[in-house]
């Protein structure tokens, strides 16, 4: 029992992130509305970003900005254990940008589809294509 609780405490964060990812993935596959799928896509991407950010977290670490930055280079030693790992943050800044770019393109495409078929529901669009 003790082991289980320890496991739970150490890992519950990851499990919740994965749950979020699966909410997004489910919405992308199962939803019928094109914009809903785009929302799901964004949830999926944000959950992955959350996962990455949590890789960088460090118990007892502070935000990755060095205090007394001005002219103090070398005057006090910086220990790696005191600061949170900045690398995942950098990667995820990039990933957020990618997700907003994808969002823009996806919405533009959805508007194009709507202009042509006058609906955003996938089954109605497919029915219209089949009719022709």
């Amino acid at each position: 029992m003790g082991d289980l609780i320890q496991l739970l405490v150490a890992k519950y964060n990851y499990w919740i992130y994965i749950t979020l990812m699966m909410i997004g993935l489910y919405a992308m596959i199962a939803k019928n509305n094109l914009v809903k799928k785009i929302v799901g896509m964004n949830i999926f991407q944000t959950a992955i970003i959350l996962f990455y950010v949590s890789i960088g977290s460090k118990k007892g670490g502070t935000i990755p900005i060095i205090e007394h930055g001005h002219g103090a280079a070398g005057s006090h030693v910086v220990h790696a254990a005191d600061y949170i790992n900045p690398l995942p943050h950098v990667l995820m800044l990039t990933a957020i940008v990618v997700s907003v770019a994808t969002l823009g393109v996806a919405l533009a495409l959805a508007i194009k589809v709507y202009e042509r078929y006058n609906t955003l529901e996938e089954d109605e669009i497919l029915a219209q294509i089949r009719e022709k």
């Binding site: 890992k11 489910y26 533009a108």
Partner: protein, 276 residues
């Protein structure tokens, strides 16, 4: 489809959760991610780039190449939205509305009808027009300069505090979008024309990639800002700091312009006629 989706999601989730068994604990300071590559960033950024904000230093210098392509991604999203949605030489709208400013009377002009002369008396309004709201317009007018000032601060102060080109650029872009929403798209377009906006977009990315190419021409590797030392007249470490600042400005310009560009195209369906 719903069942398939659920099954796929549950299977994928189960696989991912199964793998967490071998992960280091959450927030473990001894995990490989915290001990292999990152300590150098934490301990050496000040010495090597003299930028206190490690995220900025890693973003624009150690992994500056990623960031250049991140800006390119945004730029290509802008171009894709433009190429998909923009309609040139739009046919005359079915009907357009004009408001007589003094009396508040609304005139409806059918296609082919006579358009009121271009004067201060008449004002073109959107079909989905909401009545003139003094509070919103005035508040936005007052707020926007401060938002823009904050955006510039975020870009400029990215070395020492959270923020940088990307965040600042988004804030600057958002201020213009706020202007477009609180007034209307045509007024906003008169401030930043489409062509200027598109050129700014390319210019921003060009500043970034051009800085890198300049380093290459000065004899060092691509994006090695130390090469700028000879031009800027400072030592190589400070040159890195300045180089980061230059590319952050580029990122800011590109992101600002692209956000506006995407908004204009999406909100007006590429007609640049009536916005949100």
């Amino acid at each position: 489809m719903k069942i398939t989706g659920l099954i796929i999601a549950i299977l994928a989730g189960a696989l991912l959760i199964y793998a967490t068994a071998d992960f280091p604990g959450w927030g473990d300071a001894a995990s490989p991610a915290s001990t292999h590559v990152s300590p150098r960033y934490i301990e050496k950024t000040m010495e090597e780039t003299s930028v206190p904000n490690m995220v900025t230093a890693v973003l624009a210098d150690y992994r500056g190449f990623d960031t250049m392509f991140e800006t390119t991604v945004i730029f290509s999203a802008g171009v894709v939205c433009f190429i998909l949605l923009r309609v040139f030489g739009s046919e005359e709208p079915k009907e357009s509305l004009y408001r007589h400013v003094l009396t508040g009377v609304t005139i409806r002009v059918r296609a082919g009808g006579e358009i009121p002369p271009d004067s201060d008396d008449f004002e073109r309004i959107d079909v989905m027009w909401t009545p003139f709201d003094l509070i919103i317009k005035t508040m936005c007018r007052i707020l926007i300069p401060f938002i823009q000032l904050f955006g510039l601060y975020v870009i400029a102060h990215g070395h020492h505090s959270p923020g940088g080109g990307f965040q600042g650029g988004v804030i600057l872009g958002a201020s213009i979008i706020l202007f477009a929403i609180s007034h209307d798209l045509r007024t906003a377009l008169r401030r930043i024309r489409e062509r200027i906006d598109a050129l700014l977009c390319a210019t921003g990315v060009f500043i970034y990639a051009g800085t890198g190419a300049l380093c290459l021409l000065l004899g060092l590797n691509f994006l090695d800002y130390a090469a700028l030392a000879s031009i800027l007249g400072v030592d190589p470490i400070t040159a890195r700091s300045h180089g980061i600042f230059i590319v952050e400005i580029g990122v800011g310009i590109a992101v600002m312009a692209t956000m506006i560009w995407i908004y204009n195209n999406v909100s007006s369906r590429g007609k640049y006629d009536e916005g949100l």
